[in-house]
Amino acid sequence: MPEYREYTYDVLIVGAGGAGLRAAIEAAASGVTVGVVTKSLLGKAHTVMAEGGVAAAMANVDDRDNWKVHFSDTMRGGQYLNNCRMAELHAREAPDRVRELESWGALFDRTKDGKILQRNFGGHRYPRLAHVGDRTGLEMIRTLQDHGIHQGMEVHMECTILTLLTSGGRITGAFGYDRERGHFMLWKAKAVVLCTGGIGRAFKISSNSWEYTGDGHSLAYHAGAELMDMEFVQFHPTGMVWPPSVAGILVTEGVRGEGGVLRNSEGRRFMFDDIPDLYKNQTADSEEEGWRYTQGDKNARRPPELLTRDHVARCINREVKAGRGSPHGGVFLDIAWIKQHIPTAEEHIKKKLPSMYHQFKQLADIDITKVPMEVGPTTHYMMGGVRVDGDTQMSTLPGLFAAGECAAGLHGANRLGGNSLSDLLVFGKRAGQYAAEFARAHSAESIDAAQIDAAAARSMEAFNRGAKGERPYQIQYDLQEKMQELVGIVRMESEMKQALEVIEKLHVREANVGIDGNRQYNNGWHTAMDLRHLLTVSEAITRAAILRQESRGAQFREDFQSKDPEWGKYNLVIKKTDSGMAVEKRPVPELPVELKQIVEEMK
């Protein structure tokens, strides 16, 4: 038996980003005991990086907005593969969730009449994103953190879950380790909520932090829960491309929302050249109209730079491939040009986009108030995740819940910017509420000690091999390199089959990883244990992407370039079976009549 520390809670929350903290607050408020486990320190989770804002149809800036418009925007963005119940709940409940943050101390930017200000963002018909300059995620996580610490939850910082524990077809807790001290930990719980975020570290160019190794996806999968929509990985159109060491760092869509434009090396606004039919009616037909839109003219339509992310990312990719890119392999994003319209542009830009100004100044020696930035696509967001019930967020494994980026459903084939922060609030709360209910309704199951032994033994193998084994870092780099190359923005069956072979080989190398030193704060050890998750999600992405023989939302297939209505009827579900990973087609649930009507009306 391995030695470990033991804790018991009614509800265990894995992850302390927006979703995890919101879930913990809700569960704790309902009177159950709550433990929160997070890989990093409290307040550092990925949510802290979110920039642009949180989407909620509060109609503070444009009174034509309401939940129905938000719902239909979300469905259109997701190309109708969304879980419509989640899209409905999200659109209905987001405004209250945002206002609630204000009652907990958040300070959003204001409108002239003193309400929460909202800004334009790609795919949203009206200005809808509540924001704080370009540091909305920081405001959100700090608000939840500062409120949460007084709610009676216990937080285990810098602890990592290695495996979920099950007995008799139900969740019984989780096993992991404490990074700072190096010892193992057992958390017994009646309900577990996964709020572990995304998978961006499976790719080389990514806006995501080190934590994004797909842990929740992989933990759920190995525990027997179903995953869904894994083929849909969002590539954000604008990441930094230079200098190399910062390639991938996000350049917020807010830049385009504030009037920034994309140009190729010929100076042409190439986004005007390719506007999808679905969006023709809503897109400006002149540069002048586009500018008016960004400045709040309600009669203007949005510039094509604010089309959905998948589309903008592909257009950029096309310009670069056609040799019309910028010197370092991107295109130009120009916000400095607005000085033609705004005499105080320099101050204006610094006020509206302070972090972007500093990011470029500090990391690239570029003053964005004077010269254009160079940008290119970067791996950004995972639409796919644990398949959950739309109301309760429970997975197909009883007692296991998921919320936030690691859950699937709300975003379908493509997420709209700003819809993630609102997702965290709406479904974090719901997951916390229903997990607490589940915990109250069930007694604790006994722990299966064999599962603990196996997990501990597996994680110690790398030490046993020591210097004889291979270092984990190179395996991670090789995976990232290949996923970027073979399962990236533009996909093809032959390449993806190759990727599966690569993953197979990397599994063999992973089984031979060796590390030095002791267990305390050992980054090598941690990286070694992350590998299994990265390989699992990479395989899931690749298998689903191969099966979906069409281009839709975030998935673009070179060999099947158009959208196929037949494929629009299915989500792809991934499940662990005795013979390995299985992918299967599952019909998209029919839209109820009321929702169908809304979608029709808003077309």
Partner: protein, 247 residues
């Protein structure tokens, strides 16, 4: 590409020593890149804390050539690369391993500060009205990424170890954000004076100078707090008033 030397603090918690690592560096690299490279190629078990690599999370605080900085926002081309670059952990907190310190004290301190308590909503729908000018000041404080570099550099904590009686600049900023929040109705002045030790700060401005978010910690947060405490407790009229009312 050129070679550079990094002199990195290695320790398993007790004792420790600098160790030199030579590695290739290229254009645009930041200190964190170099540390990662060394970790991947030469020192697999080296402990370093980081997360966003974009100056947003405040995880990668360290002392670079003696200056408290974020490793992910310190470009090599700002440093004299002909000499070894020293990288060591923050000094004001107990060391865990190599570059990683135990910052849990900060989380305990925050819990002791009375939480936000809003006034009743302004509008019937349960919302408030605030003007941008009224939130600007507090928004400055809320930019804080909790990197604790200001705590690290403050002599009251770093040299005099007053962790028991002084909350440090980070939490003075936090208190200021609550006290100056347009909606807040709580009063935190008594603790600020008696338990949180605002009086220990002698306005050296060291904290302000290292803040990566450029928060004007001393002028905008600490001095106004000191003034409020003064007005409340050292104003002769108020003192008299308290004597009579017993408040």
């Amino acid at each position: 590409m050129s070679q550079a030397t990094f002199r990195i603090w290695r320790s398993n918690g007790e004792g420790g020593a600098f160790q030199d690592y030579k590695t290739e560096v290229s254009e645009g690299m930041v200190v964190l890149d170099a540390v990662h490279k060394i970790q991947a190629e030469q020192a697999g078990d080296m402990a370093v804390r980081w997360n966003c690599k974009a100056g947003k999370c405040g995880s990668c605080s360290a002392e670079i050539n003696g200056n408290p900085r974020l490793m992910c926002m310190t470009r090599l081309n700002e440093l004299p690369m002909e000499e070894p670059v020293t990288v060591e952990p923050m000094h004001a907190f107990p060391l865990i391993k190599d570059l990683v310190t135990d910052v849990s004290w900060n989380y305990e301190v925050k819990k002791k500060i009375k939480k936000f308590k809003p006034r009743a909503p302004d509008a019937p729908d349960g919302t408030w009205r605030m003007q941008q000018v009224d939130v600007d000041r507090v928004q400055e404080f809320r930019k804080c990424i909790e990197c604790y570099l200001c705590q690290d550099v403050c002599h009251v904590l770093r040299e005099h170890d007053k962790h028991d009686v002084f909350i440090g600049p980070r939490f003075l900023v936090y208190t200021a954000a609550l006290e100056m929040h347009p909606l807040d109705t709580e009063n935190r002045l008594q603790e600020l004076k008696d338990d949180h030790g605002v009086g220990y700060c002698n306005i050296t401005t060291c904290c302000r100078q290292v803040c990566p978010e450029g928060i004007t910690i001393t002028e905008n947060a600490i001095i106004p707090l000191k003034e409020r405490v003064c007005d409340e407790y050292y104003d002769p009229l108020k003192k008299l008033f308290r004597m009579f009312t017993g408040k």
